[in-house]
Amino acid sequence: MSRKPILWISLAVLCVFIGIALAAPLIAPLGPTAITGKPLQPPDTRHLLGTNNIGQDIFAQLVFGARITLLFGFFSALFSVLISTSVGIVIGYYGGLVDEIVCRAIDIFMPIPMFVLLIVLTTFFSPQILEVSLLMGFLGSIYGIRIMRSQVLSIARMNYVEGAKAIGASDFHIMYRHILPNVMPLVMVKFVSASQHLLVMGVGLSFIGLWDTSIIDWGTMIQNAYSQGGLALGLWWWILPPGIAVVCVSLSLALIGYSLEETFNPRVGVNRL
């Protein structure tokens, strides 16, 4: 079975959501917080997905929620990959004391229950999406550093690195021009899978209500619908759309991630013995 069509469909779905997020003010000019109708209206032509318990348009919330959810996922993934790649390359290349110190520090920090720590830390920065995503990126990078380091360790002993050293290339040049391109496939795979994990985690955090509820993202929408009786009253148009949106984005990111991984790393692919 070829993965090509799946990859293209996933990319297309993702692009549609990114487009929606970018064009949010055009698609829903009234904004996510405006009260535009009676509470709990079923879907009709004026409100494509009905209204919630205080009469806000669910479609508008969905469109604007895409902005926050996607921004959060991609931004924190970017940050996490940036940290893990740069730190991993530096400690893998130099080795010695720097490597020892960073590895021991990671060993010591590992046992802190990450998820709970994350919940606590979000309370510090709650209203600011950017700060919370930086934080998630930082916490997410801790595991990535080790993976990067072990990759770099083997690359740094390759002949071409030795050769570059012999002709007098600077350390920065070697790391940037010789090591980075070799770990780039791994970095891309990590970026996609990190954005999927972190996006889902962000939605999860806002679902359990630990974010500022004034920020409307998909998690907050689901939480609102779930706790205000959207499920118990059988109001499917209230609870289903944000969930389906999360599923679409997360699924397409996961599928893109696997396709990339299979392309770059034949060992996880199909065994042809």
């Binding site: 079975m1 021991r104 060993d107 010591i108 920090f109 590992m110 046992p111 802190i112 229950p113 998820f115 709970v116 720590l117 919940i119 606590v120 830390l121 309370t123 510090f124 072990s150 999927q196 889902v200 939605v203 999860g204 679902f207 359990i208 209500g209 630990l210 689901i222 779930y226 499920l231 118990a232 059988g234 609870i239 969930g243 999360v246 599923v247 997360s250 699924l251 990111l253 996961a254 599928l255 696997y258 060992r267 996880v268 199909v270 065994n271 042809r272 013995l273």
Partner: protein
């Protein structure tokens, strides 16, 4: 094999790690914006008499400087004193263990079943990798994994409890418990859906690792040698491939067992199950610091123990791993 010297060093690291972790969590929690009075007694906080607030701060030692509080906390922890919850006024440790028991009802069977099914299906899938069934299974697992756990839970409640009414909408027991007392079949009836969900989720994680490990083992030279010797496929699978492919599972399983104490916030929230995850998020919104510290402490302790156990176990089952020499 593991050397005594290495083990000693490992234990020292664990001790250091423990202190660093509880120090970080202590200061983080105490520096958290908001406190119990302002967060929980929200509407009352302005009308509360000053003396009562003062009394509360004094009673829990919150009027002391932070460093003194920290010293007191460390001394108490070393003496086995976990403190008293602000909100309930009860000792923290029995509170946590009580909620933990409820969490265990869900997560213990789910973890055991999940690890078993994940490993078995993963091993089979990896052994048959490239086959039609393997690809179907693999794609199903990707889909299960990609959808957030709480969304699965909501969908399950919606379909099985709301539309089909096979299972209750949530909670851990029915209302009849007031007249008849807690009955095991009733609790089980409430627990089946969350257990099934968590089993699926845990199984997918194990499935990936096992499948990947199996695939890389099959590519090794000793499998080719075994084939060249003319061993039958079953013999290769059971005697050579499976044993080696199971090695990475040792570490993962140990960590999964340690993660049991953290509960599962998402599933517990959706099913309104009174477990440790729900307790954590409740304690957090109320800023019930001693309770949070207790939960953190338990998690940290178990994770550290799991790390040591995983090291020892994996070097015991695989003598090629020599602990002490850095990888």
């Amino acid at each position: 094999m593991i050397s005594g010297n290495y083990l000693m060093r490992r234990l020292c690291y664990s001790g250091a790690s423990f202190f660093v972790c509880i120090t970080i969590t202590f200061f983080l929690l105490h520096l958290m914006p908001g406190d119990y009075i302002t967060n929980y007694l929200l509407s009352l906080s302005n009308t509360l008499p000053k003396e009562a607030v003062q009394q509360f701060y004094h009673q829990f030692g919150l009027d002391l400087p932070l460093t003194d509080q920290y010293l007191l906390y460390i001394i108490n922890i070393l003496q086995g004193q976990w403190g008293y919850s602000y909100a309930y006024g009860l000792p923290v440790f029995p509170m946590i263990t009580e909620k933990l028991c409820w969490s265990l009802v869900l997560i213990l069977p789910a973890t055991v079943l999940g690890i078993l099914t994940g490993t078995i299906v993963g091993a089979w899938s990896g052994w048959k990798s490239g086959g039609k069934l393997d690809l179907i299974l693999f794609n199903i697992m990707i889909v299960i994994r990609a959808i957030p756990e709480f969304w699965w839970a909501i969908m399950a409640v919606m379909v099985f409890s709301f539309y089909l009414s096979w299972f209750p909408l949530g909670g851990y027991t029915s209302i009849s418990v007031l007249s008849t007392g807690l009955s095991i079949p009733d609790v089980l009836y409430h627990a089946i859906l969350p257990i099934a969900l968590m089993t699926f989720f845990i199984a997918t994680g194990n499935y990936y690792v096992m499948r990947n490990s199996m695939i890389s083992v099959i590519g090794e030279d000793y499998i080719t040698t075994a084939r060249a010797k003319g061993l039958d496929e079953q013999g290769i699978l059971w005697r050579h491939a499976l044993k080696n492919a199971l090695l990475p599972m040792v570490t993962i399983t140990t960590f999964q067992c340690a993660a049991i104490v953290a509960g599962n916030v998402f599933v517990e929230t959706v099913f309104s199950w009174p477990g440790i995850g729900l307790l954590t998020s409740e304690a957090l919104t109320m800023r019930d610091l001693p309770l949070l510290e207790g939960i953190f402490l338990l998690d940290t302790l178990l994770t550290i123990v799991a790390m040591v156990v995983a090291d020892i176990l994996s070097s015991w089952v695989d003598p090629r791993i020599r602990m002490g020499n850095d990888e």
